[in-house]
Symmetry: C2
Subunit: 320 residues, 2 copies
């Protein structure tokens, strides 16, 4: 068991994962939380480099997220979008005025030669975040959603088409040439990481892109830290986003067991613990049979206290 001062590594996508990340950040000493973030959702739009999951994490951890809307900044204004609409520009991806500054700044820094990890680190610091936010890699990896009859870039599927098309699979362009963010590699190699927490994010489009970067999931498995997954599926429903709909369309059982099977099949030996919701307690024996230790608690995070409580539960489970 690692000491409380050891770093904890979390894997996360956007909104769902960011909730638990916020709880973890609250529970851990400042600077001890490291979050590896999916960048497969990144895209270029209106000439801007947009990193939706990074921004959701940073806005959430800095206390600026619009929790009612579920994305973007609290108290945001939309004057640029309104003006763009008047010009008949593309407004399907809603960029708030303050949010625009993030994208302008990031795009400019990248054009000047900074890497995405450097830009992300600076962004987090400027917004007062003590946790470390690590883009999963430096290379451009782009998630494509294969739908019946056509392929869609992720944001087109997710935002423009609002997840309506029926999904047949996913691919991550550029992933074969990507390497895990070297800061994450160094963390896994250099220090006693106390725990690796897979946040309740979408397995297919948030966590798979991270784990499928060549060498990533093996490095996580081979580290001495226990790996604990928090289920993104509760009572057959996704806590956030299209995970349940995707599972149904892919003929994966829409249950915590289906999630466990997905991870155990594709990443054998990775998971040590699986936190499932009380409503799914009856699935525990079948999940345990997969070789994963199951822990049951209330995993629905509504309030800040919910997030902290689930974070405490998860950390204590692995002695972190």
């Amino acid at each position: 068991m690692a000491a409380a001062e050891s770093p904890v590594l979390a894997l996360s996508g956007g909104v769902g994962g960011a909730k638990l990340a916020l709880g973890l950040a609250d529970e851990l000493p400042p600077g001890k939380l490291h979050v590896v973030v999916n960048t497969g959702d990144d895209f270029s739009h209106l000439g801007l480099h947009i990193s939706p999951d990074i921004d959701t994490l940073i806005y959430t951890l800095s206390g600026n997220a619009n929790t009612t809307q579920g994305w973007g900044l609290e108290g945001e204004t939309w004057n640029a979008m309104d003006a763009l609409q008047r010009l008949e520009g593309e407004t399907w991806f809603r960029l708030g005025d303050r949010d625009l500054a993030t994208h302008l700044w990031r795009t400019d820094r990248l054009a000047q030669g900074d890497s995405l990890p450097q830009v992300t680190e600076k962004l987090a610091r400027q917004l007062g975040i003590t946790s470390h936010i690590h883009p999963m890699c430096t290379a451009a990896v782009r998630t494509t959603v294969h739908c019946e009859g056509r392929d869609l870039p992720f944001q087109h599927y997710f935002v423009k088409e609002q997840c309506a098309p029926v999904v047949t699979g996913f691919s991550f362009e550029g992933i074969a040439d990507a390497r895990p963010n070297e800061r994450v590699v160094a963390l896994l190699e250099g220090t006693a990481v106390a725990a690796i927490v897979v946040c309740p994010s979408n397995p297919f489009v948030s966590i798979d892109p991270i784990l499928q970067i060549p060498g990533m999931w093996q490095a996580l498995r081979d580290s001495r830290a226990p790996v604990v997954l928090v289920s993104p599926i509760v009572a057959g429903l996704a806590l956030k986003g299209p995970a349940a709909k995707m599972m149904a369309e892919l003929a994966v059982p829409v249950t915590a067991l289906g999630v466990a099977q997905h991870y155990c099949e594709h990443y054998p030996g990775l998971l040590d613990y699986f936190v499932i919701d009380e409503s799914d307690a009856t699935l525990a024996p079948q999940i345990t049979a997969l070789g994963v230790e199951v822990a049951v608690t209330n995993t629905v995070m509504k309030s800040r206290e919910d997030k902290q409580r689930l974070a405490r539960f998860t950390l204590s489970l692995v002695g972190a």
Copy 2:
């Protein structure tokens, strides 16, 4: 003398020129005003293609200009800039939230292969302008201000350093390879242009870049339309901007006569008429001696009516 239905061609930079352009647009039938605009001030900033003179003209002609501030949009908000400041981004060039949409849209359209004239035409139409706004050329021409000891890109001189450095000269990078906007060429060749009006813009950094595009000033001179210049210098002062300061630093007499001498020396035979202010009436004989017909009126434009009156005076002078 051309009929009132014939087009009028105006040459303009930003704020000063846009005032007379607004008067001309008010006085002429819809669609009859064509404005050739300086793009030497254009620059790339935060990845955005910014065309300050085009935007000032379009915002002015569409009734959206912030006339108190002298630039940008009326009722503008600054949330993106405030957020960018928090990120320690570059905020010396103030981009309002609505104004940002213009730059995002333009940059995106250019990236998709539209030309600056096409983008400008669409922008003008979307904002309800019936006048035609023609960027002086399609190629990138960039004004450099030579100052004592260093060279500054125009916006660095003008905005970042607020025109403080002492000027020794100007150059227009890329101008040797630029060609006059073909719509302007077609207009001069194809129709009976009633008049060519050089608006009261800065001779050195607004009008010179236009006239020095290879073939431009000769085409204007050789057209059958009379060319009338409205003085940007009144009683030794620039109506707007650093023109007077520049003239003093370049040892050009800071008078309407100095302006006339500049044009007659560099563009012999171009000017037919020169509209000067009543306060400069005593300079008329010396200007007439340069071979330019002088007309005296009140050239200071404060109200909308001032602009319309000066436009009427200028048009009637040449029978347009």
